[in-house]
Amino acid sequence: MQNAGIFFDVAEIASFLVILTLLVKPLGVYMARVFEGEKVLLSPVISPIERLICRIAGIRRDDEMDWKQYALSMLVFNALGIAVLLAILLLQGMLPLNPQHLPAFSWDLAINTAVSFVSNTNWQAYGGESAASYATQMAGLTVQNFLSASTGIAVAIALIRGFARRSAQTIGNFWLDITRCALYVLLPLAFVFSIFLVSQGVIQNFSQPVKASLVEQYHSSEEKVVSEQIIPMGPVASQEAIKMLGTNGGGYFNANSAHPFENPTPLTNFFEILMMALIAASLTATFGYMVGDSKQGWAIYTAMMIIFIAAIGILYWAEASGNPILHGLGAYGPSMEGKEVRMGLGGTTLFSATTTAESCGAVNAMHDSLTPVGGMVSMTLMLLGEVVLGGVGSGLYTMLAFAITAVFIAGLMIGRTPEYLGKKIEVFEIWSSMTTILSAGIVVLVTVAIALSTEAGLSSIMNPGAHGLSEILYAYASAANNNGSAFAGLNANTVFYNLTTAAAMLVGRFVPAVAVLALSGSLVKKKYIPPSAGTLPTHQTAFVLWLVIVVMIVGALTYFPALSLGPIIEHIIMNGVR
């Protein structure tokens, strides 16, 4: 029986990998053609809308930007996004579509939430259905889900242009890129996916919350008899689709994708996982197509998938092995604490690995209840810098910064001043790549240190011991790497955590993004050096493995002490080592 379970789980994971890989090329090439301004399948329908929007917004399609203009546009656009969302959250009580008469967000929570959704993190220090009105969810949060995803993809495309163009000055037009991203990529996919979700039972309405009588009454903590339950309704499917596609991860409900209205069946579970990974994975093919060598894209994809498969393997093994302390009590089997039985072990671990690898942050289980090793795998996937596919756009551009670093050292080792895709890697590229790679790590190290050495930070820990340290580490890893998932068990809705995580999210998102644009601005000016027998081939096995090693080593060296005082010691203690 157990063997059959493992068989089905492995089959589910394998089919996910196969289907994802099959989709990479078609969607990747489609996106490349969209951003190159070429005619695509949807052009006849969307092109008139694009032209109309461009006319209204005053975007001239041949207006190209250098990296500074591009970065400035990106920052202004996101700052506006934060301002608008902040206004919606603070004025929630006065806005329509609020049948539960939910009050405004507190100022610190509003700042945290605004930054969180604009930075594609979707860290939620509030409970979705009990704090945000329909208007907030739709006009505020869902809109930012589209825009933050578009921003990430646009920055990645700008970096790709830095490689693809030769001896040029400009890296594209930010306004045009985000418009095309939203119109041609995100909206059509989200439209189709939300229809599918509705067909499976995900709700989409503006109805009043439903009251349901409980089968069994119980006494609340205040000694009151509770006999009925309020079930909030709302436009869930439309938000659920983009939450996955845009690797946003902010749930409509507090329970996120563990809630049956968000993720009702194993089939929706499978497709939600697939949609999380789809765009980030396909962007590797977009990269290969735009630089004129599809093998380069596959090399990056392979490097990402090597880490991903290793991670899902360890995570699954850790959860399937269960807890030896419970085994001692006669409760054998996998660790099912905090997991939805309808998703099963495979559906849960695949979701957990994907959501942390993908910088999505949606969850269908309690990550806090994962085994120490399982929790460490999901934490590590974030701490590596969200480069295992990663967030839409951000995963690719961070991985390319890693590739530049890897090329630099490898190039030296074969006796050439290093070059990647025919572009010479010099001091400016190293500075901007290191900034991209290391900012999140620096933020995590600093914020964790602050949280552990202040009363405000320590007072939120509800699970003292090594696990409390894991919770804080997980929180800042999630914020700084723009993931958004959380180990519950840490009271995050305090002024201290709202502000420090907001700062972590801002720095973790925008410092690398600007560094990447600067990198692109430097690369785009360089002339192309044709490959020769002495050039390091960056599409072959040796380099792919080297890239994986570089990613792993940077992560390991940065976090080994913290991990050993958190999940590693938890694991050792759980296994009874004295």
């Binding site: 900034t435 790590g441 190290l445 320590l458 005082l565 004295r578």
Partner: protein, 688 residues
């Protein structure tokens, strides 16, 4: 013949070691270390632990005094080893610079009022000579400064600069007019126009470069330093972060205490890429030095680095691919003439021809036909080779003997309304078809035969080109020969491409063409007409025998004037980069073992269970940390020889080379410290 003087080079000469040691102490000054921020951080760490050690006597220290003391000592040694490596590399250059400087001793120059022989002169110290002055240099006079011979010819002993004992001819006009200050005229006298101001002579620049005094960091070195600095910042934060992490853990575990300052600093120094940061300056200096050992002076560090990147080598055929001179191998008669007749006419036509080709004709005539003619017959008139007539010979007793290039002879014949004999074209084609060069022999305006001159391809050159191809470097042969001749030699030598019927002026054009396609081009040159091309090339090697213009346009000077040297330069450039890359990988790979040694030890009081991570089973927490610190320090002097000699370059495809070096320095870098730290720990625990 090129004589490559092997300068004696032992790594650890006693005097050199001692002066390097003294210099390394001077280099401990923080101002000097500003150039190397990673080591500066280590020095600050040493100060912190030393202060901690002293303070420990007045308060209750967290660690035993022996531990803090020894950690401090070894941290200081880490910095000292790094400055020592730099001093040692510099010291080896300085020794050479000193020997060069001796030749620069001030001399009194005979400054002429007018650039004419016999003009009045006044004695002026050599360091007062300005650009444009004229000086007279007579036999046994040292040449006071760099300049150009404008009148006369002399034998010059250049051994002070080149190490080559055979004197060379320097004469006005042509490509052998440059003279170098510090060399010595052996016979005859010359008038030299000074071409540089004091302090800027070739010798001055050489001394500067060899000494490393003016050494600027190369772009790639700066980029690597940026990478190392970024990593160091992260490690600093990791270590700072460990303090609250361990304080919290100690609190919740209810035992132990936060990691002590000494241990934090020790961890930081062990994690920071000290190995590569310590050796980085030495690697750069040593690269220059290795070139100098092969009698090559790089006028900028950038040039050596660029040499590692070269994709295209432009090589002159003559002297590089073939032996410098073509040799006559056969006389072919035409029409009714005999080969003996042709040999005789050729001999007559070559009597006054001092070129190696001319000599070889005389030798062949002597050996094969026993014809001897020792001196020129009386009344003979020599017709020298000029660019216009492109033929040479003599007129004697009313007979005229000429030899020349086929097209110029044909033109001459045609101008007299005559025609060439029937068999000529076929005969020429036959010779060119085998890669030879034909010279047409004419007696009394009648073509009587052809001399077959043959290029002799240097032995072992094919293997070198094959090795270059594996490195990803394309060789292009440049020759003034006809297409057919060029193609044959190209095939024989195994070059990738060739340019036939080339003029030196066209080199500039080709270099630009290659560069426009993104290639890095290296070339050698010696003539003034090479100067524009040298200035354009990414790596430009000028022969020391070349003209001043060529030497100024180049960024590398080959004192031996051996064109094949370019390949050595490429190799050294690659070695330089490989040494940096390999030691960086090694340095970072070491960190894994250091973590496994230090983390369980540092957290022992809080979580003794973490001991399961201590794969090395080290004696106790303090010896574990100390062992890691000691390993981190002594690996620097152990790697100094590697840094100075450079990682061996093996011509193989890039991917294979990467795998090879990753296995040696990456995997080796992971494994070596596990063994090293364990051994040191075993040794320490004998005493503790």
């Amino acid at each position: 013949m090129d004589i490559i003087q092997k300068k004696s080079h032992k790594f650890f000469q006693k005097a050199l070691l001692w002066s390097a040691f003294l210099d390394s102490l001077r280099k401990l000054s923080p101002r000097h270390l500003l150039r190397n921020p990673v080591m500066l951080a280590v020095e600050l760490g040493s100060v912190v632990t030393t202060v901690n050690f002293v303070v420990g006597f007045f308060s209750r220290p967290a660690d035993p005094a022996w531990f803090t003391g020894l950690v401090s000592v070894w941290l200081w040694l880490t910095v000292l080893f790094s400055t020592f490596a730099e001093s040692l590399a510099e010291g080896r250059g300085k020794a050479q610079a000193d020997s060069l400087r001796k030749t620069r001793t001030e001399v009194m120059a005979k400054k002429l009022k007018r650039p004419e022989p016999g003009a009045e002169y006044s004695l002026v110290p050599s360091d007062k000579l300005m650009k444009g002055d004229f000086v007279l240099v007579e036999a046994n006079d040292p040449i006071p400064s760099d300049g150009e011979v404008i009148e006369g010819a002399a034998l010059v002993d250049e051994s002070a600069v080149t190490g080559e004992s055979a004197p060379v001819v320097r004469e006005s006009g042509g490509d052998r007019s440059a003279v170098t200050g510090g060399t010595k005229v052996i016979s005859n006298h010359i008038i030299v126009r000074i071409t540089v101001d004091p302090g800027e002579t070739f010798l001055d620049r050489m001394i500067c470069m060899v000494e490393g005094a003016k050494r600027r960091k190369t772009p790639n070195e700066v980029a690597l330093e940026a990478l190392l600095l970024a990593i160091t910042v992260v490690f600093l934060l990791v270590v700072v972060n460990l303090n609250p992490l361990s304080a919290y853990s100690a609190h919740v575990a209810g035992r132990g205490s936060a990691v002590s300052l000494t241990v934090l600093v020790a961890l930081f120094v062990c994690l920071a890429p000290t190995t590569i940061a310590a050796l980085l300056p030495a690697i750069g200096i040593a690269g220059m030095d290795r070139l100098f050992q092969r009698n090559v002076i790089a006028l900028s560090g950038k040039a050596i680095e660029a040499a590692g990147d070269v994709n295209v080598l432009l090589l002159d055929k003559t002297g590089t691919i073939t032996l410098g001179n073509r040799q006559a191998v056969e006389f072919t008669p035409l029409g009714e003439h005999t080969d003996h007749e042709v040999a005789e006419a050729s001999l007559m036509a070559s009597l006054t021809d001092e070129t190696p080709e001319g000599r070889s004709i005389v030798v062949l005539a002597k050996q094969k036909y026993n014809l001897r003619m020792h001196e020129m017959p009386a009344g003979a008139r020599s017709i020298p080779f000029t660019a216009q007539n492109r033929m040479s010979g003599i007129d004697v007793d009313g007979q005229s003997y000429r030899k020349g290039a086929p097209d110029s002879i044909a033109k001459s014949i045609a101008s007299q309304g005559k025609s060439v004999p029937d068999g000529l074209d076929r005969c020429l084609a036959d010779i060119e078809g085998t890669g030879g060069t034909p010279l047409v022999v004419m007696k009394n305006d009648e073509v009587i035969g052809v001399i077959h001159l043959k290029d002799i391809v240097k032995g072992g050159i094919q293997e070198r080109f094959a090795a270059l191809r594996k490195m990803g470097i394309m060789t292009t042969m440049i020759t003034g020969d006809s297409y057919l001749t060029a193609a044959t030699i190209a095939a024989e030598a195994g070059v990738d491409d060739f340019q036939a019927q080339a003029k030196p002026e066209q080199k500039l054009h080709w270099i630009r063409g290659y560069q426009a396609n993104g290639y890095m081009v290296a070339m050698t040159g010696d003539g003034t007409n090479d100067a524009p091309a040298l200035a354009q090339a990414d790596v430009a090697v000028a022969m020391n025998t070349g003209t001043q213009a060529a030497r100024e346009a180049a960024n590398i000077i080959d004192l031996d004037s051996n064109p094949t040297k370019l390949m050595d330069i490429v190799e050294i450039g690659k070695q330089l980069l490989m040494t940096r890359g390999s030691l960086t990988t090694f340095s970072i790979a070491n960190d894994i073992a250091k973590y496994f040694a230090i983390i369980p030890a540092a957290l022992f009081t809080i979580y003794p269970q973490l001991g399961v991570l201590g794969l090395m089973r080290l004696a106790n927490p303090h010896t574990a940390i100390l062992s890691a610190v000691i390993f981190n320090a002594i690996v620097i002097p152990l790697l100094i020889p590697l840094a100075l000699k450079g990682v061996k370059y093996r011509p193989m495809p890039a991917e294979k080379l990467l795998i090879y070096n990753l296995l040696v320095f990456g995997a080796g870098g992971i494994i070596a410290p596990f063994i090293g730290i364990k051994l040191i720990d075993m040794a320490i625990s004998l005493f503790v």
